[in-house]
Subunit: 336 residues, 2 copies
Amino acid sequence: MPFLSNAPKITYKKPIFCVILGNTQISTIPGISGAGSTPEKTLLTPNLDAELVTTGRITSFPLKPNTPTGCPTPASITRAMIELTGVPPLFINAGLKYQLTVPYLDALGQIGEDPRKSDAVPLAKNLFCRGQEIGKLLSWSSDLLVLGECVPGGTTTALCVLRALGYPATVSSSFVQNPVSLKEAFCRQALTDITADSITDPFEIVKRVGDPMIPVAAGIACTYTGTLVLAGGTQMLAVCSVIKAINGPIPSVATTVYVRDDRTANVQVLAAMMGISMYYVDPGFGKLGHDGLARYCHGEVKEGTGAGGAMFMACMMGFTPEQIQKKIIETVLAYS
Amino acid sequence: MPFLSNAPKITYKKPIFCVILGNTQISTIPGISGAGSTPEKTLLTPNLDAELVTTGRITSFPLKPNTPTGCPTPASITRAMIELTGVPPLFINAGLKYQLTVPYLDALGQIGEDPRKSDAVPLAKNLFCRGQEIGKLLSWSSDLLVLGECVPGGTTTALCVLRALGYPATVSSSFVQNPVSLKEAFCRQALTDITADSITDPFEIVKRVGDPMIPVAAGIACTYTGTLVLAGGTQMLAVCSVIKAINGPIPSVATTVYVRDDRTANVQVLAAMMGISMYYVDPGFGKLGHDGLARYCHGEVKEGTGAGGAMFMACMMGFTPEQIQKKIIETVLAYS
């Protein structure tokens, strides 16, 4: 299996790596998200990830960057790639419950609400416009943008948005056992009004059932003038579905083979339907002699905080698979 | 009089234009700051400036970008240069009372307090560190950084910091009649403890009597790898005094001739003491046939929100004085 599924035809002079952070109240529903030791604590995960990726340490809480089951978090993989490449990460706050501890670009959003109770992202259109402003800024200073996300509970909002836009989507999960029936039941309920009212407007759909990351990412995609590579799995396909619905330019998507090979998700089907160039990174975590990383191969964690895209970027910048793997091992061992 | 006092020996490939925004409670003291129609409203000026410079309009309040006395605000000059050069502005929030309405980079600070009552910037050292992080980010994507500021009341904090660091400073003002005796009385009172305790540590001085912009700017200066040009008058000299005290690299400073020619301030003396390369822009506002701009020549407004540096940047980028003046006139007429 090659490290990268296909050789990208991308030329660039200046890459930049950004991660959009967001919360949705959905992650506090027990069983929905694996991104935190308790449902309530999933809300803090974007903040801890930003701190780790930016500074190399988590100091604001007495925590190690490992998942509740003991796997290295995807953010620690992203951090390894930041150290390897020297590309400084830029975090974009699309709407978080808690204050960040490192400098960030603020898109002026708020935490997404539970769509069964109220509109999820009342100011979705405003967030799209701010994404457009941010896309212009990033265009000025780079010609390759690798754009990740960290939104606990975000595969469920992705499912809602993709289904509402007519895709026969099934989405991935950071759990080994994807809580599919829970997500399906949630989605059915969340989409009741959209189905009843035959709503097809993409902004209205994001407003009702999305999360704050989606409109910011879509806005950036619509104004960024360089090559945009979205770094993530099914959540980034939801972003693409919105971009496609507004006739924006469809970006490429880079993610791990662990997301592609998730049998509970149909990443390749969706990507083909939307005409997306996909790049799948296979970092060979099964053969690195690290139990926590090896469990990525068996469906734990899989991806997150732009980890797949960060490895893709390192590859693009000329680092070898061996250099990438060595740096990841060194980094996660230092945290264990 | 040439448009630019001396030809800069700066080579660059990618310029970037940033403005650090901050508040200090000092601006609400009646008579201290001219940057707002009432003392309380001075706190909102950075927000309105950021909105105008980013979007070309003020929409969050029913206001025109003119000073209480009817001069075009310096932000409208900065906006004109943004339109002319096509460089997208990036605002950095060092500590504001009110939420911004456009995307910005957050340095996670708070509004500065009145130093007569408590420490002005309790987390000055943290803000310096965040400035360092931001400097690394900006280094990645540019090799010329023109860095302005907007801090109503900031000439008074600048006076306190400069004096505390041993400089025989007198500072400028946006008023025609600089409220010198008010500032002097304030400064004497604010520096009582610093003088009594013989405090010379620059971070301790900023903590006690500075404003949130100063440590962020100093932090950026200490990590930025390209050419840094601070865009402003006496406030930026206060930043330089802190940089010098910590043995950081002294940046150049660009400002207007209206600040240089302010007889109540000793810009040139201070710059010579610190060994700063100064660039003075003379936009010839007296000959453009616009009364509000002409009053800049008689000591109103003078500078602000990076206006001098923005004109300097346009000049560096090859725009002629005629193009710069034409764009400024067009822009301010559109707002009148």
